[in-house]
Amino acid sequence: MQTKRLAALVATAATASLLLAACGGSTSTSSSASQPIAIGVPVPLSGPYASAGQDIVNGAKLAAAKINKAGGVLGRKIEIVPADDQCDPQVGAQAAQKLVSQNVVGIAGGYCSGASLPESTVFHSQGDLPFVMDASTNPQLTEQGFNDIFRTIGRDDEQGPFAANFIANYLHAKKVVVMDDNTTYAAGLAANTISALKSQYGITADHEVITAGQSDYSSVLTKIGQMHPDVLYYTGYFTEAGLLLKQARAQGLKFTMMGGDATNDPTVLSTAGAAANGFIITTSPLAQFLGTASNYVSQYQAAYNKAPGPYSVYEYDAVSVLASAIKSAGSTNAKKIDAALHQVKDYKGLTGTFSFNKIGDRVPAAYITIIVKNGQFTAYQELNSSGQWVPVP
């Protein structure tokens, strides 16, 4: 109740400042050559996801600092303009309007897909302002038919086929059980994985569903144990993953256990203890698992005195690829930048080498597997450009 009222209050304040900004901004639309190029970063900066949003802004600032140190773009400096979208669709639309009124040339950011969606409509309606997303993984975002949407992160529906590939081609599993907790996200990933296993590798996986929030899953595990699977892939969240691991090993069940990216959390390690060893997770690569980003991690640590969070390195790449597109477009015209982004080929980012496909999705998809070794998450296997499984460098 209270948070709702607060949200309403902030929304009113945002609208008011929007009006003010709109009035003040209308006179200075001509971009002079000495002014910095503004890049908008819409992320949650208040509420429960505020720390994730702050990480992303920090990543953007590091990228801008690097570019500016090398002389900027088109002789102008890059300026990062954050806007708080509170992970809320309505506030997000207002934050986007605010960024437009602040004359941003492009947008690199976003955290919650729910907020990024209305933001993308606003940017699209304002002369196709380029929007490079760093963390919003909902497939719908790039399926809207807009030509100004890009992302440096993978899509939700790419993880299923990725996991299926790993299970079939790396683990060589014959008998697979896929388990979810009946949430929209986990059920979607489970369905994607099962259909990819069936259609691409001819493996018919069994499907189990549990209810989250219980402490005891030993009986469903006993049942799965009697099917003698090679692999159990759990697509739900970390809380249950830890319990499943502990209870499966306590019963002496030896099959390989895997989890989706929602299980990538240290709680799994503290819950399961030694039973977590050997647990494999399919996930977007975090900065600490990327050999290419090791400098970035220490740089971030030095600047902000904390770990870089899961998405800030994707934001770094989003800002950098946007800047390089502005450079190759030779202009701050939105349509020209969009065209330049579509031309990007094998861009060497911190998160790997990537291009954008027709609708703006990153290719190849950014997923790796990590494994728990001696009670620690360590990088494991990734797909190389010719589709072979190789250890993550």
Partner: protein, 296 residues
């Protein structure tokens, strides 16, 4: 067989909590909604004490014993305080007022724990208990399971003996039969009610610590689901009846386990509650009936 073992383990946790529901209902006809939260506080107390002692190099068994005892003592006193502050003044008021108060106490405990311990999950250390197992009729049983089950049974037995063979126990039984008559006979009614709350709290705390050790994850909301299940167990066995609560708890655990194993984990609660409704339709007083006086 494995399903039976799994079910008995979880069932013994339910039974310990169900005993508290049933005793308090038997004596003051109150469904104490805050009882599940006492279980949660017990789990957090055990966790805190373990955290304090983890720095020292005391033997594991001693540390476990201390944390169990401290949690039982603290939660026992908390239950007494709850009774003195929230319930005693309302004993003569309508049933509804005291029921609503119980809901209030439950919310107060949950949110208190939220402030003190945060919203996330806390985890018990995983390296305290041995992980050795043995095979029994094709099922894997761990010594920890055996230990937990034995300890639960022992606590239940102690409670049973206490109620049956001590003066206070006799007073408790008298109270549940007729409060006013008991008072006229010189029974210290308030004192006996306090002792009942103390015992309920102690058992809930024991269950909380054991569950924390066994499953390792604890959270400020864990008492809610536990309370619901334990309450169901108490009703299934016949609320107000001590052996009923024990049997009800074990039965719910086993039912849940078989439902998850042979049908689907998604359906386990549906099945457990369907059985509850069925039992209540056929025998409204639960399996053992609500004959507190004779049976207790």
């Amino acid at each position: 067989m494995q399903y039976l073992i799994n079910g008995l383990t979880i069932g013994s946790f339910y039974a310990l909590v169900a005993l508290g529901y049933t005793m308090i209902y038997g004596i003051i006809r109150l469904i104490n909604f805050a009882h599940g939260d006492l279980f949660m506080v017990g789990a957090f107390m055990g966790w805190t004490v373990l955290g304090v002692f983890s720095a020292t190099h005391a033997p594991v068994a001693v540390v476990l014993m201390i944390s169990l005892l401290v949690a039982m003592a603290v939660v026992g006193l908390l239950a007494v305080g709850m009774d003195r502050i929230a319930y005693q003044p309302l004993l003569r008021a309508s049933r509804l007022s005291i029921l609503i108060t119980a809901l209030g106490v439950s919310l107060a405990l949950e949110n208190g724990a939220l402030i003190l311990f945060g919203a996330g999950f806390d985890t018990y250390p995983t390296n305290l208990l041995p992980t050795t197992t043995f095979l029994l009729g094709g099922a894997t049983v761990s010594w920890v399971q055996v230990g937990m089950f034995t300890l639960s049974l022992l606590l239940m037995l102690l409670l049973y003996l206490f109620v049956q063979h001590t003066a206070v126990g006799t007073a408790m039984r008298a109270l549940s039969f007729d409060q006013d008559a008991a008072r006229l006979m010189g029974v210290n009614v308030e004192g006996v009610i306090m002792i009942t709350f103390l015992l309920g709290g102690v058992l809930a705390a024991a269950s909380g610590v054991m569950m924390g050790l066994y499953y390792t994850q604890i959270n400020f909301l864990m008492g809610f689901l536990m309370g619901l299940r334990a309450f169901t167990a108490a009703v299934l066995g016949g609320i107000g009846n001590i052996p009923g609560a024990m049997v009800g708890g074990l039965l719910i655990g086993v039912l849940q386990s078989f439902a998850a194993g042979y049908i689907s984990s998604q359906w386990q609660d549906v099945i457990v509650f369907a059985v509850l409704i069925l039992v209540l339709v056929v025998k409204p007083t639960g399996i053992f009936g609500e004959r507190v006086v004779e049976r207790m």
